[in-house]
Symmetry: C2
Subunit: 336 residues, 2 copies
């Protein structure tokens, strides 16, 4: 178990890399801790949960709603959770987003930590304190920013991860490479998902590298005034497509990254949109779908990054270097 | 208009005492501001709202729920509210609690301010950043602590305040006197609600004194680790009674203060429970009701101030001096 202490804003976060869920009891007191997970994980690893108080959710983004939060609040009251209770989200991005949100508002805030169990949650969703729920097609429109007390990685839990979820997670890894790490972009070009599935050491290195990359960005700008906005690369169009066209988050972001790369060619002089598209295809992600431009624009314009009639849009200057441009909504519509 | 800048934690809050709702447009840009209020206020003062984008809620504590939050979120999306939008809660404690909560979670937090229009909201609910909603009989069990950007007082709006709400608000004023201001306690003994209704200068002084008293307590301890806990005087039993027995917040807190005063006689040697009871009666508030001990204890033990098997209970040492004692739950049950 490799332990690293990280400071994000006012918060101290303990990272436990290459660890084991069985070590969790050394980090948080079993008597006052409640795990939040989903049916897939409990079915795949029943013995890991048997000695903990556990709230089990139905799996899937469609349950990332206020109704689920209400239901968990009732369960927490039933379990007599108080201000000394710690919640631990064990699962993918839906579980970590919900658990973080819940812990931020239950009794006006209780301690929480994460055991991310998908590639996406490991390299992205569990890091940086953003949490939230969806309202209709509007993704994460309600939420807070609050840092977890700890992250614990147990790569054994990836054994039960469906193939689609591997692909999903690599979209965020490609995003990180595009905006901040040209060397990692080249490394990804040299490999593939099967390579990382076979090679545990390479996978552990990649997860650690992405965790630290995102952590660095969040440390520079916890409340997303500057640098952190880069992490939205591919997400503005991505979020608008995701729930309307029944895409996974990774698929939607991949299409959003290709769109933003093409727009970058017109605006920043970026010249490698094709190379971005090729890497995305190599990781089994889509580069385009046909969609209803008006319907997508109606959702896109409500993106949290809008400021009145302009949208802060993340573009690429070169591979490894993201930039934010303020684009008029009308222009954006014309590009869809 | 008397302007005072106050620092609470990291936040800067502008207080505008003795002001006028018509001055609001000097504090916040009309184009990017949305008012949140209730049907009573719009009916009583229609001309005050006509030039603002306004979301109108059904009045009453029973609407202080997540369902109302969801409904307002949908309306905000309809109004294209973005991260540059300011929400202003114009109303009593229910409106300010809901608006503060909403502004804390919508798009992970937008700017907000309050125009409190009841005695309770003026002297208590609008100050200190606590917000939240109820889940079933559990009051404010979901919420955050986040400071408003400004408070604006317009005493003209009290003209439409029902008599019951005057009584309701004085419960919190008596609470402030009990825990921190013996001189104000004596002043309250010398007067009555009709006196303050007739005497606008005395009322304005009283509101300002209570606003600053609560502000001072919150400045000392924004996140309720020490001093701020005193503000819960009367509220532990009060919250457990309020929704179960259909009492107003003030009535429930009054009964809670009498209960805590009597317990103080046994624990701290306090000797003026009778005097507290008399003042409460003089302000037309109840000192006791009959209730089902088991039902009340079931809710009381889930109070946010519980720590495992103990409850941090606010008692009085003398009038003007509150203290927190950790009491075993079993003992508390025996005292009900």
């Amino acid at each position: 178990m490799k332990h690293k202490k990280v400071k994000i804003g006012q918060a101290q976060v303990d990272y436990f890399f290459d660890s084991n869920l069985t070590s969790l009891s050394r980090i948080t007191d079993k008597k006052s801790t409640i795990l939040v997970t989903d049916e897939h994980l409990v079915t795949a690893h029943p013995q890991k949960f048997s000695s903990w108080k556990t709230i089990v959710l139905k799996p899937g983004e469609k349950y990332k709603t206020q109704a689920t939060v209400d239901d968990i609040v009732s369960q927490l009251i039933g379990l007599e959770a108080d201000r000394n209770t710690t919640l631990v989200g064990v699962g993918g991005g839906v579980v970590t987003d919900l658990t973080g949100y819940l812990a931020s508002v239950y009794m006006r805030g209780i301690r929480f930590g994460f055991v991310p169990t998908s590639i996406l949650a490991l390299v992205d969703a569990s890091i940086g304190g953003k949490n939230g729920v969806d309202v209709g097609v509007f993704k994460n429109i309600v939420g807070t920013i609050r840092q977890p007390s700890f992250l614990l990685h147990d790569h054994r839990l990836l054994a039960s991860l469906p193939e689609m979820e591997w692909i999903n997670g690599f979209a965020e890894i490609i995003k990180h490479a595009c905006i901040r790490d040209a060397a990692m972009f080249r490394e990804l070009e040299d490999h593939s998902i099967p390579f990382f599935q076979r090679n545990k050491k390479a996978l552990a290195d990649l997860i650690r590298r992405n965790t630290l990359l995102k952590t660095k960005v969040v440390q520079l700008d916890e409340f997303e005034k500057n640098e952190r906005r880069l992490l939205n690369f591919g997400h503005t169009l991505g979020h608008a497509l995701e729930n309307q066209y029944n895409l996974t988050h990774g698929q939607a972001v991949a299409i959003g990254m290709v769109f933003a790369s093409r727009m970058s060619e017109k605006i920043t002089g970026f010249r490698q949109a094709e190379r971005v598209g090729r890497l995305i295809e190599n990781y089994q992600l889509p580069t385009a779908i046909s969609y209803d431009r008006d319907k997508v624009f109606e959702v896109l314009k409500m993106d949290k990054k809008r400021a009145r009639k302009e949208m802060n849009y993340v573009l690429l200057q070169k591979i490894g270097k993201g930039v934010v441009h303020s684009l008029p909504l009308d222009y954006l519509r014309s590009q869809l």
